[in-house]
């Protein structure tokens, strides 16, 4: 074409980004020695390598060292060795290193971007304008956290050696999200990049070499599932941070159960993109482009479910189709490309299979009339309409450029459809009515909600999911929490309960009227479903009374009641505070009764028992006072937006309380849960359950809405397991012997509920109070509200 022909055509022409620097970098390295361990470049112990290729051509880019378990061993040893010095370094020292990394990355920004696009297939515009700048920002932002850590998180210690496993969709950005907070908090790192995309991590390791990162602080080990498993199972690792599929996340949850490792999981999603009739529809269409057609849809938080109000649905879909026709599918390094290839053939096959299946199940799948390049793993942007909620395209994470569309009639239905998923990563709400948007945002079960926007990220704002999208946050203050060791005061190791003894014959005469301790479910005292009772003995073996033997069915009923209770989570914090104060007040009126009961059941002196009651009352007072004070924050990312980090209740929390300090142990756990608006299913101490059953009346007097607290007595091990396996329980806290704790973690994978256990230890109950408990009782939801008129 000559210039005049181009003048008439006015088409776009390829505008390829130069790759010569990247090619020179690739040619100049010995990738068979690309494990970065203890500051040295090493070959894998067995000298194996794997291939990484360019997904737009299928051509080999490099043969990269493939770490085995032996290499992970070496890497963990290096990280362990480096830990004491690095964690003892001053915040300023660590800040300087983080800053140096950020600046060095900035100096090689374009090389990072080109390598990323070569290896992953993402359009150069995205790697250049989004991935790499965000990664750099993450390091520079965290330099400040490193320096202010002592002041902002007084007394907290780093988690230790962290094992980090990252995916292929944002190789460098996910590396930054993992490594920056780890270095800021004084952790040392063993990071495994994804097999499809190891290159930018290698360039990053070179930056570490030059930026003054001490040897062994950052270890980067390329490898596959064997290396991943070795990291997950390594006893020398204190924390695992994983980003990837929910399937693998669950495997990791199970594998680390009982190990005492801290765990954060950032998993899949099926995020709703909700368009109300008063939205700026043209802008919402662009939001979709940034939502589902960003990075070929290979984004965990992709807005893959479009929910559009019926009144504007047809007009909106027409706009979407017109816009899709203008998306350019092409080479990743072409600056005019909107959509590149998927990362690998396996991924392309999977997306095609899901689209075919979705069509078989009744979805109408539309694609613009366009050619795709002949080589490479390209998939056209796809719009699926007529998608029933049961359709596979509405249920499964596709991880490709496929948008499933449904319509809704009103706000309530929009929320219901949005939440009709196992996932809970992100959501997007489009409306010009700020009242509506801010009404809907808190109702969405998602860790991130973007109002009139999508896929906005920043180092200062937490990112992470509800439900099976994982737990933990990355970014912001809330993200740092994941890299600090937990701060609860430990108590003694809990010994396995001894076999129940037969009650000694009671020769004493009692003049009291016989009392039946039932279960407390949904605000009522009810008999256990099985109608069995168990004896409660004093330390001397005397029969103190009997309590109901709760079973799985009673737990089921209690969870239903907890789920149905809307009055408590929707009550104002001030209202919850008053109820908790009232509980304290009413408990205080019965101090002597409870002290006597504790003495009877534990053998504690009256003085000790009374002190326990008084501390329990004080604790209720504390959490009543905190109910309206453990507030969220406002983050200020570098854009014209406010990001509200809201503290929301986790939901239904199962609590398994310890035998030790039967009243204080129980109050110390239920009070923070209730204060934050959770509803609670409590399994009290096995040895002293009468303390809990005595509370029924106190609860009944105190205006606690029915269902906010249910209490099921019975065998701890059995009931804890039922709670762990219950997929409508959002959180589970267990203070019990190590086996029960481990099992609770392992069995929690059904819905990835948030499990916290004492790992077989009790807590130091007199001091077991504070923000750590409130934090555990909340989810942080980041609501982005861009503004401007």
């Amino acid at each position: 074409m000559n210039i005049l022909e181009r003048y008439h055509a006015m088409d776009y022409a390829p505008a390829p980004e130069a790759r010569s620097e990247a090619d020179a970098w690739l040619a100049g390295r010995d990738f068979s020695k690309s494990l970065f361990i203890a500051g040295e470049w090493r070959a894998a112990a067995d000298e194996k390598t794997f291939d990484t290729e360019d997904p737009s051509s299928g051509k080999l880019l490099a043969k990269v060292s493939d770490a085995s378990a032996a290499d992970i061993e070496t890497a963990v040893a290096a990280a362990r060795k480096a830990l004491p010095k690095w964690s003892a370094a001053s915040g300023y020292e660590r800040a300087k290193v983080l800053y140096a990394i950020g600046r060095a990355m900035q100096r090689h920004q374009r090389l990072f971007a080109v390598l990323e696009s070569l290896d992953n297939g993402k359009p150069i515009r995205e790697s250049r304008d989004i991935d790499v700048p965000l990664a750099i920002r993450h390091f520079i932002h965290h330099a400040g956290w490193a320096q202010s850590l002592d002041k902002e998180f007084p007394g907290r210690k780093p988690a230790g050696v962290v094992g980090q496993i990252i995916p292929w969709n944002f190789p460098l950005l996910m590396l930054a999200w993992k490594i920056a907070p780890a270095l800021a908090t004084g952790c040392t790192v063993v990071l495994k990049p994804a097999e499809f995309t190891p290159l930018t991590a290698i360039l990053f390791a070179e930056i570490c070499e030059r930026a003054g990162v001490p040897r062994g602080v950052v270890n980067i080990v390329q490898g596959g599932p064997e290396a991943g498993a070795a990291i997950v199972n390594h006893a020398g690792i204190d924390k695992i941070a994983f980003t990837g599929s929910s399937e693998v996340g669950k495997i990791i949850r199970k594998a680390t159960a009982g190990s005492g490792k801290k765990l954060s999981l950032e998993l899949g999603g099926k995020s709703a993109f909700i368009v109300f009739e008063d939205a700026d529809l043209d802008s919402a269409v662009e939001g979709l482009v940034d939502g589902i057609w960003f990075n070929q849809g290979q984004v965990c938080c992709a807005g893959s479910r479009l929910l559009v109000q019926e009144s504007v649905a047809d007009a909106f879909i027409a706009k979407v189709k017109t816009r899709m026709s203008r998306l350019r599918v092409g080479a990743p390094l072409d600056k005019n490309t909107d959509i590149g290839p998927l990362v690998d053939k396996t991924q392309l096959d999977r997306v095609r299979r899901l689209v075919e299946e979705g069509a078989r199940q009744g979805a109408v799948c539309w694609q613009p009339d366009q050619d795709v390049p002949e080589t490479g793993y390209y998939h056209l942007p796809t719009l699926a309409t007529g998608v029933a909620p049961a359709n596979i395209l509405a249920q499964e994470e596709v991880f490709g450029p496929v948008l499933a569309t449904m319509s809704f009639r009103n706000t309530e239905e929009a929320v219901e459809l949005a939440n009709n998923t196992r996932y809970g990563l992100a959501a997007s709400v489009w409306s010009e009515n700020v009242n509506l948007a801010l009404h809907v945002a808190p109702q969405l079960k998602a860790g991130v909600v973007w109002v009139n926007g999508t896929n906005m990220f920043d180092a200062s704002c937490g990112f992470g999911g509800y439900r099976e999208s994982g737990f933990g946050r990355e970014g912001g203050r809330e993200g740092l929490e994941e890299y600090l060791a937990s701060s609860e005061p430990h108590g003694p190791v809990i010994k396995p309960a001894s076999a129940p003894k037969a009650a000694a014959r009671d020769n004493g005469e009692s003049h009291a009227i016989d009392r039946t301790a039932k279960l407390f479910i949904g605000g009522k005292q009810v008999r256990p479903d099985g109608n069995y009772s168990i004896a409660v003995l004093t330390p001397k073996g005397k029969l103190a009374g009997e309590v109901g033997l709760g079973s799985r069915k009673d737990i089921r009923d209690a969870v239903s009641a907890a789920r149905a209770c809307k009055a408590w989570p929707e009550a104002t914090a001030y209202n919850r505070a008053q109820v908790l104060y009232y509980l304290a007040e009413n408990l205080s009126g019965r101090t002597e009764d409870f002290a006597a009961r504790i003495s009877e059941l534990t053998g504690a002196s009256h003085k000790v028992a009374k002190a326990e009651v008084e501390t329990s009352i004080e604790r209720l007072f504390y959490y009543a006072g905190m109910a309206d004070k453990f507030e969220g924050r406002v983050h200020q990312p570098p854009a014209r937006t406010v990001t509200l980090a809201l503290h929301e209740p986790v939901g239904v929390i199962g609590i398994v309380a310890s035998d030790e300090a039967p009243l204080l142990g129980l109050i110390s756990l239920i009070a923070p849960a209730l204060a934050m608006g959770n509803t609670v299913v409590l399994v009290p101490s096995t040895t002293a359950p009468l303390v809990a059953t005595d509370l029924y009346q106190v609860i009944e007097y105190s205006d606690v809405p029915s269902g906010a607290i249910s209490i099921v007595t019975g065998h701890t091990a059995e009931l804890a397991a039922v709670l762990a396996k219950h997929d409508d329980v959002d959180g589970l806290w267990v203070v019990a012997e190590a086996d029960i704790c481990a099992r609770a973690e392992a069995e929690s994978t059904g819905n990835l509920k948030r499990v916290w256990t004492g790992h077989g230890r009790s807590l130091d109950w007199p001091t077991a109070q504070g923000e750590a408990f409130l934090r555990r009782a909340t989810e942080v939801k980041n609501v982005w509200v861009p503004y401007g008129d």
């Binding site: 776009y12 043209d282 802008s283």
Partner: protein, 348 residues
């Protein structure tokens, strides 16, 4: 023309009739698009356009110009396109007939001969679409560009403020048309927008259109004065309903000139009007567009949001005075690989 037919033109794959290559790219008969007859003021339709999210529009234009890259020969071709879409403008208080003649001479011969040859344009003449002047210079301009296919546009209706009596403003249009202007760039009184006095605004513009007769009407909204993108959108809708052939951003005299977010709001209004009525309305950003690079951003905006038909002078113009020289310098660089200087290109 029916709405359906017009929809075909909206489709990105729809081709525009290629212009005969030996003809001036901006030959006199380029007003080939069916003229917008306007429609009754439909306040429901106007109000339905109220949802304009500034942040989202800013993000769109922020990425739009990064999503597309016009390089090498394509860049040269697109810059030539920018020339052909230009209303070469002089709107200064100290303009004189001689100054206007110089401007017209530049419009007639916008590129140095050696550049034309090196670009391989052959006999094809690429010139600005129009010259744009104050009323007193219309006759001079008409004379100076006679036979070239270059239109003469007059700014009118008490430009730049629009605050003269209506009769005066209408008379001004009639005078310019009588002097030979075939395009009239009118300004609206911005206060009507702040007061949501849509009926008055509609009536005034309709009167302007009537006064124009065959001359094409470009309605300048003075977007820099309108404060919000929502106001820009609502005013755009009213102007189109009243019969605007083009809607135009600025006079060049406001403190904020044509910006891409404003442009995006206006082209989306044009799209909505087209979808509803089938008529294609032109768009003219003006003020502050002085570099070749920025002109390409605008072309990308038009192509992405409205499609290929809006890269023809019937539907798109730049109001610009110094843009042409920058384009010449860029074209020289394209040919020679050397950076040029302003003084190597004839001034307007």
């Amino acid at each position: 023309m029916s709405g359906k037919l017009r929809e075909a033109e909206m489709h990105p794959s729809a081709t525009v009739m290629p212009l005969p290559s030996r003809l001036a790219a901006n030959a006199a008969d380029t007003h080939a698009i069916a003229r917008n007859p306007g429609m009754a003021l439909d306040l429901g339709f106007v109000e339905s356009m109220r949802s304009v999210n500034r942040s989202a529009l800013e993000r769109r234009v922020g990425t739009l110009t990064k999503r597309r890259s016009i390089k090498a020969d394509n860049q040269a071709a697109w810059l030539l396109r920018s020339i052909s879409l230009m209303d070469l403008t002089t709107l200064n208080s100290n303009d004189t007939d001689e100054r206007v003649r110089r401007l017209c001479a530049k419009a007639v011969n916008p590129l140095r001969r050696d550049l034309v040859e090196a670009l391989g344009l052959g006999e094809t003449v690429i010139r600005p679409a129009a010259v744009c002047v104050y009323h007193p210079f219309v006759a001079t301009a008409v004379e100076a560009v006679r036979g070239t296919g270059i239109h003469v546009a007059a700014v009118s209706t008490a430009f730049p403020h629009g605050l003269a009596p209506l009769a005066t403003r209408i008379a001004e249009i009639e005078a310019s048309v009588a002097d030979g202007a075939d395009e009239i760039d009118v300004v609206i009184p911005r206060g009507l927008v702040f007061g949501a006095r849509w009926q008055e605004l509609y009536d005034e513009i309709k009167a302007f259109r009537a006064a124009c007769g065959e001359a094409h009407l470009k309605v300048i909204l003075g977007t820099g004065d309108l404060a919000t993108l929502r106001n820009v959108t609502l005013a755009s809708m009213v102007a189109m309903m009243a019969g605007a052939d083009f809607i135009k951003t600025s006079t060049g005299k406001e403190s904020v000139n044509a910006t891409l977010p404003v442009g995006l709001a206006m082209v989306r209004a044009i799209r909505a009007y087209h979808e509803q009525t089938g008529y294609l309305i032109g768009f003219k950003p003006a003020g502050g567009i002085s570099t070749a690079k920025v002109s390409l951003d605008w072309l990308v905006l038009m192509k992405e949001e409205l499609g290929r038909p809006w890269l023809e002078p019937e539907l798109f113009r730049f109001g610009a005075s110094s843009l042409l020289t920058d384009i010449e310098r860029q074209l020289e660089h394209h040919i020679s690989g050397r950076y040029s200087a302003n003084h190597r290109h004839a001034m307007a």
